[in-house]
Symmetry: C2
Subunit: 397 residues, 2 copies
């Protein structure tokens, strides 16, 4: 079996605080870095030398002189390393190469069926990744990690899916060990796709917000929680499982019997399709619902609005419990107009406490189709450059 | 108005990682510390010297020799500094002196009415604190901070209560500025009492668990959330507001109309008293309910059991959402036997998903009456010794 190994860090712990400052992309002089960190000039210079030797930073043009020779400025070099980022959904996969700033350099996607099982799906993803890496023309030594998102619960410490409902054949499959056959020398991190969507969304549109809730509504319903600036996975990695939360019953908004009140049974794509087909409109899947809504079918729009209200009952609880500043509604059902979002807003603003809702923004996802691979890349970047934020556990190889 | 000031840290940032190791109380040699940190022996020695100069560590007897002069061991000295910890409840206050390990050195408590307003309550607490500090016979320079818990929502960055329902006169009262008149030179940190109970509980019984939910059931209902090892306060500091979450309506456990389903309206002490008094048993307050339960009144025990079930509906949602390893039920209603806890367990084990409940422990509080002041002390200790975990914001004076 694979062992837990202690990785050699990409950044010496002492130099991490300097790099953290430079990662915003602004070039700075040694004097500015000394002032920002409170470190002695000589200490700053030693650490700059170590970061320069690793290739992570480099000189970046001179600052304006205040007399005499202009002081040299130093800048973060995100292009010095690369990451393989893989986002596997129920029916769609994306493979990308990213740099250390999370910029997607190249990507490829295809339709797939996650239920085909781990080997064929991962073989496609890894073959694609190897080809994309080769096409960069850069040495494999520049690769610092592989990040993978899957549509089910993952035990983050081992990278194994645990009882994933829509991923037959993947239960306790050792994804990191399988990936190691293709990329042996780097950490392999695996997480639930919704957690990675939360990271991707934060990086895209909410860099200054440290408390963000991302809710995905598609075939299933799940949430990614960023609290105190860090992704929260919980004790076993199953935090954010909103799909099986019971929905409070209310006379005003009830679309359901009091007996059948799991959120996923009310507000997921298939649940909306069921309610439409009970009304005589043929629909089975999330895709059917999306197609009907796109065509302007008033029953579909109404059903999505009601799903938004049911989702709103649970989001209101999350707002009280977590006090986020941003709630992002994503997933396929959210992308056909404003009906889902409007239903959520309607209920949350009515329910939650003033202190929690005063400053909360409830909005649609802005990260789009590459939010998942972006999040996968950020998970790896945090792991290698900022282990304290990543809250990382040892990685198995 | 008061300004945001940059405190001089008690521990130099470079030396923090060494101190973090020694804080477990185990004395170690320089060689052991070099091995544990990966630092050079000379670097370890420099940092040991700086920590010794500050009085935070000291020599602690020799290790067993492997030949030659036995190497000196170094130990953390928690008694080198002290903290004033104040826990203010609705009807009860505790003032304590603690050391840097969170050991309560002295404490004093009395009944009070928080509704009397900030000046008389804080005057009592501060006079008591000054006397307890004086009685230690130690210089005021040994004091590193004041931690205060209050029974209402607090904007942690400013230390001001915000719309606290049971604290008339305290809304936006500048507690840190008021405290500074008595203790001018140290940081003053203020938080919701339930957040501090969560910290105190973790320190008492769950030091190895990084995902803990503490739920207090008394006059109100609230939760303190520790996720990823850190107390989570949310964007405005109101995280954990369970009292206003709507309870899922179910035929099996319903004790209420579908219209009136806020958790606090169902399961708090006054709510239980209301249901008893509707059944002809005279009761108004939490204290009445506690007294009836202590006397073995079967209706009171039954009503507490039902309150536990209603609470369980919301705790089940929290378990799905946060995936904690420990859920602690505390507060006065939890301390009269096992009925409340039994009701919570009954519903949570029935509702939550297998991955979330597989390893979750649902239990009563073990910290007891001093859990609040212990938590207040730990808040200050984290702020001065471990700012990264404390996730601290600048402190106003």
């Amino acid at each position: 079996m694979s062992d837990i190994v202690r990785e050699r860090p990409l950044v010496a712990p002492e130099a991490a605080s300097l790099l953290a400052i430079l990662r915003d992309g602004v070039p700075r002089t040694r004097a500015q870095l000394a002032e920002l960190t409170g470190l002695a000039r000589s200490t700053v210079s030693t650490r700059i030398d170590s970061l320069t030797a690793s290739g992570l930073i480099s000189p970046a043009g001179d600052a304006v002189s205040t007399g005499g020779r202009p002081p040299a400025r130093i800048a973060f070099k995100p292009e010095s390393r690369m990451i393989v980022a893989i986002d596997l959904g129920a029916t769609h996969g994306v493979v990308a190469i990213a740099d250390l700033a999370g910029t997607i350099l190249d990507s490829e996607s295809r339709r797939l069926a996650i239920a085909d099982g781990p080997e064929p799906i991962l073989d496609w993803a890894l073959d694609t990744a190897k080809r994309l890496v080769a096409e960069t023309g850069r040495p494999l030594a520049d690769l610092v990690g592989v990040g993978i998102g899957v549509p089910g619960p993952v035990e983050h410490s081992t990278g194994m899916p645990i009882n994933p409902p829509i991923m037959p054949g993947w239960d306790r499959f050792d994804i990191p060990a399988y990936v190691a056959a293709s990329f042996a020398e780097v950490p392999v991190l695996v997480d639930n796709d919704v957690n990675l969507l939360a990271l991707g969304e934060q990086a895209t549109a909410w860099r200054d917000q440290s408390d963000l809730l991302f809710v995905k509504v598609a075939t299933g319903i799940g949430a990614g929680i960023i609290n105190g600036g860090r992704l929260q996975r919980g004790a076993q990695g199953s935090a954010g499982d909103l799909g099986h939360v019971r929905v409070p019953f209310t006379n005003e908004t009830a679309s359901h019997s009091a007996k059948d009140a799991d959120l996923e049974a009310l507000a997921s794509g298939p649940a909306i399709a069921r309610s439409l087909s009970a009304a005589g409109i043929p629909a089975t899947t999330s895709e059917d619902v999306v197609a009907l809504a796109r065509s302007g079918n008033p029953d579909a729009l109404q059903a999505i609005r009601q799903a938004g209200r049911d989702l709103g009952e649970v989001v209101a609880t999350c707002v009280n419990l977590l006090n986020p500043s941003v709630v992002v509604i994503g997933g396929s059902i959210s992308r056909v107009g404003e009906q889902l979002l409007a239903g959520v807003r309607e209920v949350v603003y009515q329910r939650s406490t003033p202190l929690a809702t005063q400053h909360v923004t409830i909005t649609q996802s802005k990260a789009g189709e590459t939010g998942g691979v972006l999040g996968a890349a950020i998970m790896v970047i945090q792991h290698v450059l900022d282990p304290e934020t990543a809250h990382s556990t040892p990685v198995r190889r």
